[in-house]
């Protein structure tokens, strides 16, 4: 029986969906993670402990493991393990993005350089060191601009500045975020760079796809109907199919395909985020992974399959061309944390679930835990799911259900 190595960080929401997909395909699974399995000794071959930061060492560990347990594919759910997955896949001759391409895609500054060099629309940018004094950059920057810590993900620490004063405040705030224990651990110590780039106006969209031998197979384009204008860039609602005109969607696909080619992404999932401002399309990010959180839940395919099914099928060399996203609309709302404190109660959940079109609600943070909104926080309160005939109805259902929730957060004692 084929064996697949699934790589998850210990903070992953994705493990359950990928393991379930592997079971549906009746393949052996090994889970590789920076979580040391406490039952590993009793279940040989089931888990593999791997570090995120020492890529060579982790890739070598996978190589030794594969000598005892031959691997048919390596799949990672998150960015963190993409370098390990690419280097190990190259060594074992498995299908995945190459390690140079993964490095380029994960480093926003390098990605921008490569896309600009190819003539693609890209915001101006500058990479600064946290050791630098912000005054020089603040004086030289064009406004509005956005500051992004290169080591963090999911909009954490991303702040818009409209003036030099706001720039300096944002800089200080980012340094404080990078000092947080989990941020420092996640970035593996590589917390020394801040990307300063042009603020791009317009709508934000996401494209979910799988690259097959360098060719982009678009699975879905998702609209983000909430304005993403700052000062923080919290993701809330994602709805598919996109309501943008056909010609804009076609242009989105060709722009992402071009970026895939420029970066050299070859085989595996990608998640791209773009700004659409009239006829101007700019790539904000193109990550060598699939969509994060629980958001993949809304992507359903015909014949019946999940996003995770398709990712595993492709990794194992099985065809995916016959799968298409179901035509009905679907959406997810990543529930924002309204304020810092201690979560005491999330009321109104039954009422929210009764809103027509709402298909599920998952509160991800247990009552009694400390919560922190963006830009310092790194978690969502939970996820709300909806489906319907049109994207507009789905969006309305998500907003109505969200309005029914009563989130009680008390100040920390």
């Amino acid at each position: 029986m084929s064996r697949i190595l699934l790589l998850f960080s210990r903070a992953s929401y994705r493990a359950e969906a990928f393991v379930a997909a592997a079971r549906r395909m009746d393949i052996e699974v090994t889970v590789g993670s920076n979580h040391a399995s406490i039952l590993a000794g009793l279940a040989p071959g089931a888990t593999l402990t791997l570090g995120v930061t020492d890529v060579h060492r982790s890739a070598a560990t996978i190589g030794r493991f594969a000598a005892d347990y031959p691997l048919a594919a390596i799949v990672t759910a998150e960015d963190d393990f993409a370098p390990v997955a690419s280097e190990a896949s190259e060594a074992l001759g498995l299908r995945y993005h190459g390690s140079e391409a993964v490095r380029s895609a994960r480093n926003k500054a390098l990605m921008r350089q490569l896309l600009s060099a190819d003539g693609m629309q890209s915001p101006w940018f500058h990479v600064a060191s946290v050791e630098d004094h912000p005054t020089t950059f603040a004086a030289e920057a064009a406004y509005p601009c956005v500051l992004k810590p290169l080591a963090l993900s999911a909009s954490r620490g991303v702040i818009r500045a409209d003036t030099p004063e706001e720039f300096s405040l944002a800089w200080t705030r980012i340094l404080d975020i990078l000092e947080q224990r989990d941020a420092s651990r996640r970035s593996g110590g590589a917390r020394d760079e801040i990307l300063i780039e042009e603020y791009l106006p317009g709508l934000e969209v996401a494209l979910e796809g799988i690259v097959v031998e360098g060719e982009l197979r678009t699975l879905a384009i998702l609209d983000k109907p909430d304005p993403m204008e700052g000062p923080f860039f919290e993701e809330t609602i994602l709805v598919t199919p996109s309501r943008l005109p056909d010609d804009v969607r076609t242009e989105i696909v060709s722009t992402v395909q071009r970026a895939v080619s420029v970066l050299g992404l070859l085989d595996g999932p990608i998640h791209a985020e773009l700004r659409v401002d009239g006829e101007q399309l700019s790539i904000l990010e193109i990550a060598p992974r699939s969509i994060g959180g629980r958001c993949s839940t809304i992507l359903r395919f015909e014949p019946e399959a999940t996003l995770e099914d398709l990712i595993l099928r492709h990794a194992l060399g099985l065809p995916i061309h016959e799968y298409a996203c179901v035509p009905d609309a679907a959406g997810v709302m990543m529930l924002p944390i309204p304020r810092a404190g201690v979560l005491r109660e999330v009321g109104g959940t039954e009422t929210a679930l009764r809103v027509p079109g709402v298909e599920g609600l998952e509160i991800a943070i247990p009552v009694g835990q400390k919560v922190m909104p963006l830009p310092e926080g790194n978690r969502y309160l939970g996820f709300l799911f909806a489906g319907g005939k049109t994207p507009a109805r789905v969006e309305a259902a998500l907003r109505e259900a969200h309005a029914k929730l009563e989130v009680i957060i008390e100040p920390e004692a």
Binding site: A11, S12, V19, V29, P366
Partner: protein, 203 residues
């Protein structure tokens, strides 16, 4: 299909009175009570009991004599409800029909006994719990039914971002190894209620 034999479901006197009272309130002729198994899952068996009008009956329904009113059921519900009893309960906080159904007893509602159950419990105590205790976790056997094992995770495992991995890559493999006739393992933990998860999911 019509079958006026005695209902496979027994209504208590209070439940009967309540059904008749509801029918009186509607003031129409030909009313009946429909009893349906809305969800047969042993994790959360659910029932629907409603007063229906004569033209709400379907051809495939089976109709029983409820001793004072007609009881209408879909054939599948009639099978699952054979031997069940329906009572009417009223408390300070709620009132409604309560179904006691030996065929769909919720998991954990029966004493844990039997040779397979003993072996599963022993495997959890001997192999699983000493391991998960290192992360402040523990696993409790809730039920064993039709070779499916139902477990609950607590402590550091409850709400942990890696709980599904611990289950599929650890607990399940160990239990299947120790008790090969196990056909499935279901985690019935309320992970949203975990107060101190070992790893918090965040991405």
């Amino acid at each position: 299909m019509s079958d006026r034999s005695k209902s496979p479901v027994e209504f208590t006197e209070l439940a009967k009175d309540t059904v008749l009272r509801f029918m009186d309130m509607q003031g129409e002729d030909g009313l009946a009570v429909r009893v349906k198994v809305a969800s047969p899952s042993p994790l959360d068996p659910r029932y629907e009991i409603s007063i229906i009008e004569a033209d709400d009956k379907c051809a495939e329904d089976v109709v029983f004599d409820g001793n004072g009113f007609e009881v209408v059921m879909e054939p599948e519900s009639a099978k699952l409800l054979d031997g069940a009893s329906i009572d009417w309960v009223e408390t300070l906080n709620e009132s409604g029909f309560k179904v006691e159904n030996p065929n769909l007893a919720p998991i954990g509602s029966k004493p844990l006994e039997g040779p397979m159950t003993d072996r599963v419990r022993q495997a959890i105590d001997q192999f699983v719990n000493p391991g998960v205790a290192q992360h402040g976790g523990h696993v409790t056997l809730v039920d064993v039914r039709d070779n499916i094992v139902y477990i609950q995770m607590g402590g550091g495992c409850q709400g942990c971002g890696m709980a599904s991995v611990t289950l599929s890559q650890g607990i399940e493999r160990i239990l299947r190894d120790q008790v090969p006739e196990i056909e499935g393992i279901e985690d019935v933990t309320n992970h949203q209620g975990g107060e101190n998860p070992y790893y918090e999911a965040s991405k």
